[in-house]
């Protein structure tokens, strides 16, 4: 009986209920109490262990719900439109001499920073609008014609 009272004061929100435990000490009322309270009074240690197990289960369930947020701070995004043709007045940077090779045969070109397919087409063919030809020849490494990277080695089909 005393153990149950100590248990109730330590765990005021006990599964078995502190107020019911106190009521259980009133002589003559024991039979009117629920079975669980009578069991708590009779086996305080067991009641305490059962409560701890239940609390542990609820804690674990609660933690499972708190799923950590995914980190999307390093997402890279871009967009382009079919109408986004290169402006005619845009200055074409000097790409240096064309890669050696006889005219009429395929050449190669290594992309440098600032390049675009239209700039490369302008350099090799004299016409920026011929960039799809380079894109087609390099389908295996260019998924998006707006995205080419420095160091990429491109095949330049014959003009």
């Amino acid at each position: 009986m005393e153990d149950a009272a100590i248990g109730s004061s330590l765990f005021p929100f006990s599964f078995y209920g502190a107020h019911l435990s106190r009521a259980a000490r009133i002589p003559g009322t024991e039979d009117a109490l629920p079975c669980s309270v009578r069991r708590a009074e009779a086996f305080p240690l067991r009641a305490w262990m059962e409560k701890e197990i239940l609390v542990g289960i609820f804690d674990r369930l609660g933690k499972k719900e708190e799923k950590p947020k995914a980190d999307f701070s390093n997402v890279q995004a871009g967009s382009s439109t079919t109408a986004a043709a290169p402006p005619a007045e845009a200055p074409v940077p000097d790409l240096g001499p064309a890669a050696p090779g006889t005219s009429g045969s395929e050449q190669s070109y290594t992309v440098v920073a600032g390049d675009s397919l239209s700039k490369i087409a302008k350099h090799f063919y004299g016409d920026a609008n011929k960039w799809p030809r380079i894109h087609e020849a390099n389908r295996d490494q260019i998924k998006n014609p707006d995205l080419i990277y420095p160091g990429q080695k491109l095949r330049i089909p014959a003009a």
Partner: protein, 144 residues
């Protein structure tokens, strides 16, 4: 005389109703033909020079670049397309905006990439045209 007054009154009512109907039709026609509309949104792993998807899918791998091709129809001096990408419970992944000046049928592509890989789960893309939701697409990312 009395009968002709009745007929005149009826004619007036008919004319009023007809003019109101005409005003309504005119307004609807203007709203329907003006501007541009989104006709299609497709997802995939790559796009061609025409900005159409060449490798269409709605299930991606963590290291994929995810492309969305938005088809528009109509002409407008300026229209704003917005792509809002979100993850599972609505967590924002990315939001990109592109101003277009469509003349006829055109395509705009949006793409997102994540160098360290996408977390597996369900994603959603919502495309807005001039801040009005135009189309929503769902897709999955599954472990490699």
């Amino acid at each position: 005389m009395h009968l002709s007054k009745k007929i005149q009154l009826s004619l007036c009512v008919v004319l009023l109703v007809a003019s109101a109907a005409c005003r309504g039709n005119g307004a609807n026609t203007t709203a329907g033909t003006a501007g541009v509309r989104v006709t299609d949104v497709t997802l995939g792993r790559s796009v061609g020079g025409d900005k159409a998807i060449t490798d269409r899918t709605d299930t991606f791998k963590p290291n994929d670049t995810i492309y969305a091709s938005v088809a528009t129809d109509g002409a407008a001096p300026s229209a704003i397309l917005r792509a809002k990408w979100s993850f599972e419970d609505g967590q924002l992944v990315n939001e990109s905006t592109r101003t277009i000046a469509p003349v006829n049928k055109e395509r705009t592509e949006f793409h997102i990439a994540k160098p360290d890989g996408w977390p597996a789960g369900k994603y959603k893309l919502e495309v807005f045209l001039n801040d009005q939701s135009a189309e929503t697409k769902s897709f999955d990312v599954r472990g490699s």
